[in-house]
């Protein structure tokens, strides 16, 4: 039977984590995502599934608890918001280098610095280009609803374990705080068997000792390791996900993810009401990025506009995919402000005047 609840996005992530059979959550409070840890402490998942929940002394400690625990093959996660995610970057780099699966949730707020606690999409670069030091990538999922906040927990772990790579859910303060109807996923069992080829659970007589490390003092070994990582990141293309909204006959295209995509969907409806052939492509995976679909659409539309709650970050990836074939503009508001569908409509008409 379907279980329906009215929840905040942050609460949906927490409940979905318990139901996904997650083994541990380590976190530190920060607005606007504190409800994740609060919900878990209130819910006492150790009694429901045996899931461990621990409030760490800092985001540094939290991500390193994730690193240690992920090395034992269990499903572990953390969540934070922008400044806290910045603090975690060292640990995330180690996790990526050591090729461990885990889930990191970023409920983004405006920056730089302490910034604002209001929603933003200004952490796009940090999320999809690596974030910490060294050549690495995260699997990045961008939910646009409370339902997707819940659904992407299990999906993120599926992809993280498939590629032995950290996955990141890139949300924002709007989706984290917004309440919506959500159909809760079914309860999964916690995993009890582990891949003994890499986990640190104690060296038994039937195997060599396992070492979780990102250290290769020999440059030839590090070269080979980097090459292997890059091949893995390329292979992630097969899991690219996006949603197309009225793109079939579109003459102009909006590209937006997460909460901005929700706003742009309304803009498309308004435009269509005025007889204008506007479409929306919503990347669901920001890494891997739906570059092939955007490239394909660049042969069909007269122009594109990336609409983001930032001064323009994803627009660079859209331009790379379009490769100069049609004009690509950016529109966005930032610093914790949220644009309205009308503002997006005005921006489109301004840029492509006479184009409709």
């Amino acid at each position: 039977m379907k279980e329906i609840a009215l929840m905040k996005g942050n609460e949906a992530i927490a409940e979905a984590a318990i139901r996904a059979g997650v083994d541990a959550y380590f976190g530190y409070p920060i607005t606007p995502q504190s409800e994740v840890l609060e919900y878990l402490q209130l819910e006492q998942p150790e009694k429901r599934t045996g899931m461990v929940v621990l409030q760490a002394e800092s985001e540094l400690a939290a991500i390193n608890m994730v690193y240690g625990a992920a090395g034992t093959g269990k499903k572990v996660m953390t969540s934070s918001s922008s400044p806290g995610i910045s603090l975690m970057q060292e640990g995330i780099s180690y996790i990526a280098g050591a090729e461990l699966p885990c889930l990191i949730v970023n409920v983004v707020r405006g920056g730089p610095g302490l910034g604002t606690i209001q929603p933003s999409q200004a952490d796009y670069f940090q999320s999809v280009k690596g974030g910490g030091h060294g050549d690495y990538r995260l699997i990045v999922l961008a939910p646009a609803s409370v339902q997707e906040m819940a659904d992407f927990v299990d999906l993120a772990f599926e992809l993280a374990f498939k590629y032995r790579n950290p996955a990141l859910i890139l949300s924002d303060g709007l989706i984290g705080q917004m309440m919506e109807k959500v159909e809760l996923p079914e309860q999964k069992e916690r995993v009890s068997t582990f891949d003994q080829s890499w986990v640190t659970t104690g060296k038994t007589n039937d195997r060599e000792r396992n070492i979780i490390t990102s250290l290769n003092l020999d440059p030839e070994l590090q070269f080979e390791h980097n090459k292997k990582l890059q091949e893995k990141y390329k292979s992630m293309k097969q899991d690219v996900r996006f949603e197309s909204f009225q793109t079939d006959d579109a003459e102009f295209l909006l590209v937006a993810y997460g909460s901005s995509a929700r706003i742009c969907q309304k803009t498309v409806e308004v435009a269509r009401g005025r007889g204008r052939k506007l479409g929306l492509l919503r990347p669901i995976t920001l890494f891997p990025f739906p570059e092939e679909e955007i490239s394909r659409l660049s042969g069909q539309v007269k122009g594109m506009m990336a609409v983001e709650l930032s001064t323009g970050q994803m627009v660079e990836d859209v331009r790379l995919a379009v490769n100069g074939k049609v004009p690509v503009y950016h529109f966005g508001t930032f610093g914790g402000r949220i644009h309205s569908p009308e503002e997006v409509m005005n921006a489109i008409e301004d840029k492509f005047i006479g184009g409709f």
């Binding site: 760490a56 608890m65 034992t72 640990g91 180690y94 640190t200 000792r209």
Partner: protein, 262 residues
């Protein structure tokens, strides 16, 4: 000559052999350094307790960053200072396994101060092995949080000026005052008698973990003849004359109770 050796080296005459839990890899430590002895003692205890299949070590950043090359147990290499957090993550998910960190003074008492203090305060049921030689060895002899007053290093070339740089920190006395620590001791490994006592301390630390009584913390005051720019013998003598008065050897907390006035 060969004949005599074969006559002597026989099973019934053997009083000592290397633990099978030390690998055949050549130690990367300088001759005269205490790290190799401490590695061996930990592995001897793991072998004697028969817990290799349940033991996970955490290697730090510092001279012992490659500790996993020498100890034949599962290992996770941690970022600088984060070993107690990494150990927490493992231990919370595998409470019946044995988890230990192996950390130097820069790792544990400078960059990782918060992780050390909070893991101790939570009483994480792990062992922390802390090697204090008063210097950053791997990066070439810079001033450490535990560098003594007036002691020269490459970043305190005229000697540590405590007015400018603060005094050396006694991390072991500090964490002994936290409720989560159950056993806290300070040892050395430069003489056979100290080696025996140090091994006993390591054994006690693992027993505390076995009985789930809280955090066990063993500091080893050790030498760094390369960083101190001395011969191994000079370094040991200097350690006795200068390090031991400031970092006195012996138990600080036993069975959860302070046994020393701090």
């Amino acid at each position: 000559m060969e004949d005599i050796r074969e006559m002597i080296i026989q099973e019934q005459n053997l009083v000592y052999k290397r633990t099978r839990l030390m690998t055949d890899a050549t130690l990367s430590y300088c001759p005269g350094c205490g790290h190799g002895t401490i590695h061996r003692l930990i592995m001897e205890v793991v072998e004697e307790m028969d817990i290799q299949s349940e033991t996970i070590g955490i290697a730090p950043v510092g001279c012992s960053v490659l500790a996993y090359d020498f100890m034949d147990v599962d290992f996770t290499q941690a970022a600088h200072g984060r070993a107690p957090a990494v150990a927490t993550g493992i231990k919370r998910l595998w409470p019946d396994k044995y988890v230990f960190t192996y950390q130097g003074d820069g790792d544990l008492a400078a960059i990782g101060t918060a992780e050390t203090v909070h893991a101790c305060n939570r009483g994480e049921n792990i062992c922390i092995f802390f090697v204090n030689n008063g210097i950053y060895g791997m990066t070439g002899g810079q001033m450490a949080p535990t560098t003594l007053d007036g002691m020269k290093s490459s970043t305190s070339p005229y000697g540590r000026d405590v007015q400018k740089m603060g005094p050396p920190i006694k991390m072991t006395e500090l964490i002994a005052q936290l409720a989560g620590t159950h056993y806290v001791t300070r040892q050395a490994v430069h003489k056979p008698g100290n080696v025996r006592k140090a091994k006993k301390a390591i054994r006690t630390a693992f027993e505390v973990q076995k009985e789930k009584k809280g955090l066990a913390f063993v500091e080893f005051v050790s030498n760094c003849n390369s960083g101190w720019k001395m011969t191994p013998n000079e370094a040991n003598q200097w350690m006795e004359e200068n390090m031991f008065p400031f970092y006195p050897l012996g138990d600080i907390k036993v069975d959860g109770k302070l046994v020393k006035n701090l």
